[in-house]
Amino acid sequence: MKRFSGLNLFAEALRGHTGWPEHWPDKEPKKAYDVIIVGAGGHGLGAAYYLASKYGVRNVAVIEKGWLGGGNAGRNTTIIRSNYLYDESAHLFDHAVKLWDGLSQELNYNVMYSKRGVLMLAHNVHDVQSFKRHIHANRLNGVDNEWLTPEECKAYCPPLDISPNARHPVIGGALQRRGGIARHDSVAWGYARGAVAHGVDIIQNCAVTGIRRGPDGAVLGVETEKGFIGAKKVGVSAAGNTSVVMKMAGLDFPLESYPLQALVSEPVKPIVPCVVMSNTVHAYISQSDKGELVIGAGTDQYVSYSQRGALHILEHTLAAICEIMPIFTRMRMLRSWGGIVDVTPDRSPILGKTPVPGLYVNCGWGTGGFKATPGAADLLAYTIAHDAPHAINAPFHLDRFRTGRLIDEAAAAAVAH
């Protein structure tokens, strides 16, 4: 791996950039690996990276049915925050936020993590009660989150309309200053490059077609379009397609996959300095380093793998954005797209072992997976390496749906992820 740095960039510029090697070579699968990760998104590539770099498991392959980073890693609105209510969630997401900090340096790949702050708007008394509950819980958990008055919201984010005669007036907000955004593709690419540097094989265009299990039920490896690949440990990090993969191992999962749409505007000079979310009007917005307003919509109502969203969802989303930021009615939508998000009954992820020995899963992130990327990847790697969950992800076990110990942030707070 050739090191990335300003100096090397300068040196390469002088010789026409001929010296940059490929980020990741195309690999044909070996007969067997110690660990196979299914799904080359940020979470899967990251898990391979941490397995190889941190947990000493170097004989690792990541298998991807399409091109790496082509699923939700490259389709999300890149919001990063950790101001979750419950201890379990706050610890989980804050683990990720701590890893985000310094990730560019660790990977030697600028993922453009920008701590521009995430501001969640309160529009009614119930919102205030809920946000204050978050703020106090976060404070005692060591997670930053602070209350802003409407005027402070406006000062922090000038495009906001805080007029009291809006249909949904802004009556305050909760701000996490460490929250922000990152460049989504770079995260997948940086992890891929980092993993490869530690000996990981990345095998693209190779769909998994089955999971082979031994007489004792334990995993023996995966069947793929390129033949059988052996591995005693398989980690599945396949987002919206998790149910499909789990069925191959004979497991039915408490998951449903929904279309989630997002859109960007044409690029403009800096105008939205932070991330703004409003659960009451159902929309969120930030501005990318390129200048595009990046806007998230709600999920469509039905289960789907079509990645084809409906127009009325965009109508509602843009009406909502223009309700909180009326100056944007003349801005123009440049591109909209759909992803598939996998949602659990309590909207919290499932991250840990499965009933099948040797099969590990990281799924159910719903609309909130990007922010968790480094944390989820590290914890999946830890769980695979130790065949036991880390204390942080132990509560996110599949068994909670049987016992009733749900981690239901949405029910608790009605706050969208």
Partner: protein, 105 residues
């Protein structure tokens, strides 16, 4: 916006009149107390999340207000057939043609 054939109204109506009701044919057990925790979990939470033909419930909330069932392909979002609550899930392998006539995708 999908058009959905309401089996009660007997016409295609726009998606915004409907609400999605989750997977179909998951009957509430007659005696829930007889189920163990695992079985109850399965009833409450486990879903096929089918990639392909998916049996699901819809309600024509802003129409006849009835729940009904549908088989929809979750890859294309195409409705193969819709049918009334209480009717058995159609076997589409045998009756694809008839189903399509009723479903009007």
């Amino acid at each position: 916006m999908i058009l959905i054939h309401c089996p009660y109204c007997e016409e295609d109506r726009p998606e915004v009149e409907f609400t999605y009701g989750g997977e179909a044919h998951i009957a509430r057990p007659l005696d829930p107390s007889a189920l163990d925790d695992r079985e109850w979990e399965t009833f409450l939470f486990v879903r096929t999340n089918e990639r392909g033909l998916h049996a699901e419930r819809w309600r024509h909330l802003h129409g006849c207000a009835r729940f009904f069932n549908a088989i929809r392909d979750t890859v294309t979002d195409r409705f193969e057939v819709t049918y009334k609550t209480g009717e058995p899930r159609p076997d589409l392998t045998a009756t694809t043609k008839a189903a399509k006539a009723g479903g009007k995708a």
